[in-house]
């Protein structure tokens, strides 16, 4: 196993060309009111080091999509592979999942919350802390190492949660509406922050969001899902150069055109 620091410096090891693949995936939920199809016949491929944003109306199965990739759920039909592995254990090992709410433990300091990712891999507390520290510095979090989550702002909490996701040292990052709970100014700041990190160290990322602008700004490609059952209705390649200063990008006519396309696909 590579240490987390090496994994951060160099590109993640690529076991196959494809990062994540959904092939004809269907997922249904049974409840007392009957059978609900969350996803139906969904095809989606994410290449290595590609950032794919998924947007769709609420309840279109976006979170189901992430949990399938994470190995936390199994498809009813079709197949989900991550770096070539279709087995749930293989997907669990290759992905780092960032839940919608930050999921920080209130009794752990910010640093210890991030280091939890290493502790779960069997690393001792002191060693995990030592290994988490350089990343904290790189992400601009060093002043908050000892702060408890209750003392941090929403934006800082998301940063700590993202540090934990990176420290898991996985090939694929699965982000479930990471900035949904933040006010729009903080959200814009964090989008730029994340874009800068990904520009420095490309990763395979599946980002689920309901914010079209966020999807376009962060993604290499934007996938639009239909209302339930979720199906791919449009794929939009975002050919804007990186790094993208957010202010320049969102006012760019090319960006507006892409946003128009995405919104039309959503309305469709």
């Amino acid at each position: 196993m590579t240490t987390k620091l090496e994994a951060l410096r160099s590109e993640p090891p690529s076991l196959a060309r494809e990062g994540v693949a959904f092939e004809g995936v269907g997922r249904h939920y049974s409840s007392r009111r009957g059978d609900t199809a969350a996803l139906e016949d969904l095809d989606l491929r994410i290449g290595n080091d590609e950032v794919v944003s998924v947007v769709g109306p609420s309840g279109c199965g976006k979170s189901t999509l992430l949990e399938l990739a994470a190995g936390l759920q199994e498809p009813d039909s079709g197949a989900v592979r991550v770096a070539g592995s279709g087995a749930p254990a293989g997907r669990l090992e290759r992905t780092a999942y960032m839940p919608q709410r930050d999921g920080l433990l209130p009794w752990r300091s910010a640093l210890d919350n991030a280091a939890l990712a290493l502790e779960c891999g069997g690393v001792g507390r002191a060693q995990a802390r030592r290994r988490a520290r350089p990343l904290f510095a790189r992400l601009g979090l060093e002043r908050f190492e000892r702060a408890l989550p209750g003392e941090l702002s929403g934006g800082m909490r998301q940063r700590v949660a993202f540090a934990r996701t990176l420290l898991a040292g996985r090939e694929v990052l699965l982000l479930d509406e990471p900035f949904a709970s933040l006010d729009s100014i903080t959200r814009a700041g964090l989008q730029e922050w994340l874009a800068a990190i990904l520009a420095e160290e490309p990763r395979t990322v599946l980002l689920v969001t309901h914010d079209v602008e966020e999807a376009l700004y962060l993604g290499d490609r934007v996938v639009v899902l239909s209302a339930r059952p979720g199906r791919v209705v449009a794929e939009i390649a975002v050919e804007l150069r990186r790094p993208r200063p957010r202010r320049d990008v969102v006012t760019d006519p090319a960006f507006s055109a892409l946003r128009q396309r995405a919104l039309e696909a959503l309305a469709w």
Partner: protein, 251 residues
């Protein structure tokens, strides 16, 4: 402190005043109702005797409570980890609360003899339920998202229990402990009533039979103080063990 407990103190003093007034009426027999002053007098006069017996009751209470904490925590964790066990045991646990423990006390004396055994059994039985049920509820109410996160990070079931579920349910455990602490003294008194050679409960029962009403009241005051002290001790322990609650963080 004054702002928090001031109104309660004022109400208590008013009640004591009223009690003193009623007890002082010529129509009220001294044996029926001892006045607060008489109770205070007995507290002073019988101090050594009361303290010796209070110590015995305190030991019974603390040991019984300790047994309940260990047993309750183990039971809650086992029921949490083994779903069929929870389904089987939970209804029985709730039903067990319908058994009047007071009537069990003499049976325990038959079974365990006159020693400390039956007292510990009663205290532990009374305290077991609030501790087990509160801790179990705490373990169950951990956000599913956190459990998913731990699974995704590669944590084992026991690691999730140790690093997430147990710390997250500490506040629930302490709610259970607070209830247990306040009823534990009652349990010790029941145990002593069923048969004992010493203890505050026995002293109160004996005093009642011997028409030493002021001493009975003095004993009751001491038992109340004991329960309040236990409650306060649990609250202090909670502040030390759950410091993040003061920041209002989510669990």
């Amino acid at each position: 402190m004054v702002r928090r407990f001031g109104p309660s103190l004022a109400l208590l003093l008013a009640a004591l005043g009223a009690w003193q007034g009623v007890a002082s009426l010529a129509a009220v027999d001294d044996l029926t109702l001892a006045s607060p002053l008489e109770a205070a007098g007995a507290l002073r006069a019988d101090w050594t005797l009361l303290m010796e017996n209070a110590w015995i009751t305190l030991v019974e209470t603390l040991l019984g409570l300790a047994i309940a904490v260990v047993g309750g925590a183990l039971a809650a964790v086992a029921m949490h980890l083994v779903r069929p066990l929870r389904d089987a045991a939970y209804p029985l646990l709730v039903a067990s609360q319908a058994i009047p423990l007071v009537v069990l006390a003499p049976l325990f004396v038959l079974a365990f003899d006159y020693g400390i055994g039956p007292k510990l059994a009663i205290v532990a039985l009374i305290c077991f339920f609030p501790i087990t049920v509160n801790l179990l509820d705490g373990l169950r109410s951990v956000e599913p998202e956190l459990i998913k996160l731990m699974r995704s990070l590669g944590a084992s079931r026991l690691m999730t229990l140790r690093k997430v579920e147990l710390p997250a349910s500490l506040p629930s455990l302490f709610s259970g402990l607070r209830v247990a602490a306040s009823v534990s003294v009652i349990g010790a008194v029941f145990g002593e009533w069923a048969g004992a050679e010493a203890g505050l409960g026995r002293l109160v029962l004996l005093g009642n039979n011997q028409l030493q009403t002021p001493r009975v009241y003095a004993g009751v005051v001491l038992l109340t103080v004991m329960a309040l002290a236990l409650f306060a001790a649990v609250s202090l322990a909670e502040r030390a063990a759950v410091p993040w609650k003061r920041h209002g963080g989510a669990t």
